[in-house]
Subunit: 383 residues, 4 copies
């Protein structure tokens, strides 16, 4: 039995890793160890603790590591605290392999703690290209990782070109697609989001369609977070459909985004926008699958959106250079351009499914590799 320690650090990363947790749990040769850390523990960013437990998982360790404040120095210090705390967690759990996802500061902290603890590290979602600090962190984590489970062929080729060994890189597809693939060909929402999740704002009539909005602050542009969210607010207000808006992640700049949202609400109390903090992954994907469009800068529009065929308007630089299927239109931080693009997508309607980011079986492949791959922590550049 190999002990596989997965570190869940935020609402979106839980959603993307959930099928892997299931597959590890189900695998006869693997034992799941679950560390829940960082904003995944915090109510104001939508704690996922209750969801995780409702999904049937046992949490082995809680790691508090998020320093409060809005300043880039906070991200550095949070990473430092995370390394101190996660190294203790790994020391106590003694995993055979640690699994981390994506490119956030918790990912960096997980990677450094595992590397210096001589614990093999598996990284999911390496080899992608976006820009901003996430870009640096993602590839640095690749260089600290021993096993790579990438979403696309292109991502896999990039990881190999960075000097990783041929037998350590696996194109598994992205586990976020697994859960999207569980959506049956839903035509209509099976639940009322306002009843189930509360949120803030009027109850809206979703009978004639709706759009979903998720816009995170961009770390390297955090001084403009408020300005950027205001452009999207303006554009979304112009559309003919009601909007379901999701609160941003914790990050430098998130207070700017939050303040922009609060100010808008106070000045436009009757705008047909309802705000949510969180939603169970399956519910969210159903909401997305049934929506007329998604707007903002979340990668969900590009990844899960491609499989679900949801028309997407991607705003600004956050997803720059991420591989796209044909469901995505890119626009700048400009209210008029955003509004135009939304109109175009609403006219177009849904797209056909793309398997660019996976075919829905990533989790099984990842669990199998975790069970069979050689677990080493000493490596060398392949060239």
């Amino acid at each position: 039995m190999r002990r596989v320690c997965v570190v869940v650090t935020a609402r979106p990363s839980y959603s993307r890793i959930k099928t892997v947790l299931d597959a590890v749990n189900a695998h006869p040769e693997l034992e799941l160890q679950l560390v829940v850390a960082a904003s995944a523990l915090l109510d104001r960013y939508g704690s996922v603790v209750e969801q995780i437990e409702a999904d049937g998982f046992t949490i082995d360790t809680y790691v508090y590591m998020v320093l409060e404040g809005e300043s880039p120095i906070i991200m550095a210090k949070t990473t430092g605290i995370g390394i101190m705390e996660l190294s203790t967690a790994f020391h106590n759990l003694r995993p055979d392999v640690v699994v981390t996802v994506a490119d956030r500061y918790e990912t960096m902290a997980t990677a450094v703690a595992a590397a210096y603890s001589n614990i093999p590290l598996a990284h999911i979602q390496g080899g992608e290209v976006t820009g901003s600090i996430d870009e640096k962190v993602r590839h640095a984590v690749t260089k600290l990782a021993d096993l790579h489970f990438v979403a696309t062929d292109v991502a896999g080729r990039r990881v190999l070109r960075m000097g990783e060994a041929d037998d350590r890189v696996f194109v598994t597809g992205c586990p976020s697609i697994d859960i999207a693939a569980q959506m049956t060909e839903t035509q209509q929402l099976s639940f009322d989001p306002f009843t189930r999740y509360g949120g803030v704002g009027d109850l809206l009539d979703l009978g004639h369609g709706y759009i979903v909005v998720m816009q995170h602050p961009v770390t390297t542009e955090h001084h403009h977070a408020r300005l950027h969210v205001e452009q999207t607010l303006d554009a979304v207000s112009q559309t003919r459909l009601p909007a379901l808006w999701f609160w941003p992640n914790v990050d430098a700049g998130s207070d700017g985004t939050s303040n922009g949202l609060r100010a808008f609400r106070e000045q436009n109390p009757s705008a047909p926008i309802h705000f949510f903090k969180n939603m169970a992954p399956l519910d969210f994907l159903e909401l997305l699958a049934c929506s007329n469009a998604i707007v903002g800068n979340s990668s969900v529009a590009i990844r899960e959106g491609s499989f679900l065929g949801v028309p997407a308007v991607n705003v600004g630089s956050r997803q720059r250079n991420r591989e796209r299927a044909e469901n995505v239109i890119d626009v700048d931080y400009d209210a008029a351009a955003i509004a135009d693009a939304i109109r175009g997508q609403l006219d177009h309607g849904h797209y056909t499914t793309s398997t660019l980011y996976g075919d829905g079986k990533a989790c099984v492949r990842i669990a199998d590799h975790l069970a069979s791959a050689a677990l080493t922590f000493d490596k060398q550049l392949a060239y």
Copy 2:
């Protein structure tokens, strides 16, 4: 005036960066900010504070970050503490660019703190290949860095293949060669090392030659640190020349190495080995230049040794795959093999100068690039 913040964290890294500090100080468009951190501050590893001040530099900030203990968890926690402390230092100094060297945990801490603080990062000695945790850290730092000053053509090609942009990678040669190049064609030691540096052990007659020994514990093999140093002690004892032995760096495993050295001393009080903790860079290089051979696993044997033509016996895995000139013979952790190799090198005598690691002008090139290169902190994979 650009503020260039250099983080000095250990005896060897000061020695390698010293000519860059001089060149930055001398450059009309650059202002030097000097952070002294980690083991560079600690007496028992040879504090370099006094040397730095004697060399005419002003220290702007002291950063204490080394957690005591002998365990891999210590390296993780020290990195975490380092990030917390260095982010404050950078916040207060507001540098335009941070310069870091090589591949230690302080390098990692410097890189993470700078990256999350949105400060451009320059990395010296990227693109080299060695093995062990240093390997992971070196390349992860490359992915966090914005400017790369590499020692060799091969190293430069590796950094480019890892996806760094063409105009951000500069083959400057290694600044450690600059100082080696300042050695005139010394035939004889100009000072008495016992008088100037004290150390522990009998005063030895160096008139008929001597060998220099530096052997550091290997992080991923730290349980064997004592065994490994004992093989070298055995071999060195068999040679016909006296030995000048330098104490190891702080690292997981350094207590094993230290204990091996202490036990040997107590059991062999009359062996012709003298132990030093530290030496001024120029004095050390003169000592090396005049020596008959260098034994152990220090990179100085391979780098500065190649320029100086000093016969070198490299023991074990620590320098695996590092580019070598013809002055190096590699052997395993085996007393007999080490002793054989030493005999061979003593018979051969000095080699001709190699410019593999630089021609002695790296510091000027680095200062010029720091003054002229675009200073950015947002980048993307080149492919």
Copy 3:
């Protein structure tokens, strides 16, 4: 010139220390060093940075130290981070004396950092009795402090009985009364709080009077934070006057309190309660002075309230055993009892001024003692 370093860590402590900052600034032999730390920096608890700057002070250092989360472990870790960060701040500022206020975890962190840095420590508000973790911390800080500026005779006698030296304890009165004393005999609010501070909720008619509510979670009862705030919400809803409600401090339990407030708002959108996050100290005191009553568990009701003669309903255990003037009625966490007490106080109307907590000149006395007292950091129990 003595360098006096004052650490401001939260909205209420700034309000209580502000006149001391002025008096230190004005004193010819003192130089003010201002460290702003912890929740004083955080928007969601009402950052006081802008107020501090608007009040004409220069902030020397910002110290981020609040770890996010709702758990007692968070308070411990925040204290630890605070010690690490504040010791650096003191090291850089080199103050002759550090001034800290009250009994929060930032106070503890300040005291430990100063004590181990061999910097004399002055403590304001020692010797008071309340209960809960604050009680332990307040007296522990007294034992770490070298100078004591206490509010009342009783507090002074307690500090002496704890073994502090006679010539180190000064009954200065509480600086919080200084600012209260600056309130002229205001009969009517000179500003519109809704216009100036926004906040959340309907604009209320304050022409016929209003009550002020401040209720903080009690650390040792943090699991009941939501239940407790609901009782007060219920009672306040029953009163005939509109309520101005202030958001709680960051603390274990504050999310329970916050959630209770949010849920109430959603279920009672038309209740005549308006929520504020923050207010300039003078504006707040004017609001308090003009109010018909104050309800909750803030010490402001007992301290400044006594001088201003404001009828106060003190709920629960947080202020247990604090010295009271006759303006305070104590009740349990019980909606009916709270409502009864409010009615009684509204019937009674304002009380005459009490100087129990000071006469309005504490700040001048404190500055004079800081300028003239021997500054030492080595002491011994007086018995």
Copy 4:
């Protein structure tokens, strides 16, 4: 079963607490949880891990917290790191009560971590008076603690005067006396210390008597650590007996002391002084019991020395105002005065046993109180 978590942080505190560990282990209603932290884990200060395990205890958690360096800032930062790490340890172990000893920074860290974690805290050795930073910390820990196990009647009265409740203060005697009391009326050493413990220096003839020396740096005088140790070295060199000298604790100043010792050794290689790093508690006490005198500033001379009747020369301020039996002569940091006092004590010979610090049954009383006392963490000043 109550879970009693004891935090062992250094060689001397283990020695003083060992009988309590035995008594807790033996008590039918108590379960021992053992945390080994700080310098107790570090080889260079004499790791006690092997001793603890040889004594039959199971270590539940290791806590690395000592930051390296010689500066007061290090003590502050180490305390901060200790709070972060110990709060995690307590969170995982979920003790019913935490036990801490004495007045070091680890004691402070333990107390703060337990207090903010709402875990009842028992403190051993409160109420004593010494001076220096230890004095502040000892009494601050008293104010954070819920149960007090004091050594002497005078100490108990002091703790009560500081405002602790009558039923929370127990004069148990000091557990350090328990182990001293286990020494039979030894006339002669039952083991050869050189064979068993190695150490550094010549093998000495102890047949005609010997003296024991322990001198720690004083935190508030750390700049003078080297000067102070040199006076004692000078005096001890003048005596007619060989000396067994124990290496100092980790503390600001310990490098000064260490350097003084090293320099002396190199300049006086034939002085009849042998240096030890560590010794099993029973062996050390036997060594002390059989010695002709003890010199330095260790509390062991005053505490265990009083029970054993060992003539003691106490140097300098470190033990200022500690209660003494008649076996102690106090002198300043002055070689001549120290030498005089040693001569006087050697002429006098052994004293009769004093029970000032305990009768040898403290451990049983402490275990009984831990099993029966109400375990609370909320308290108030008794006046």
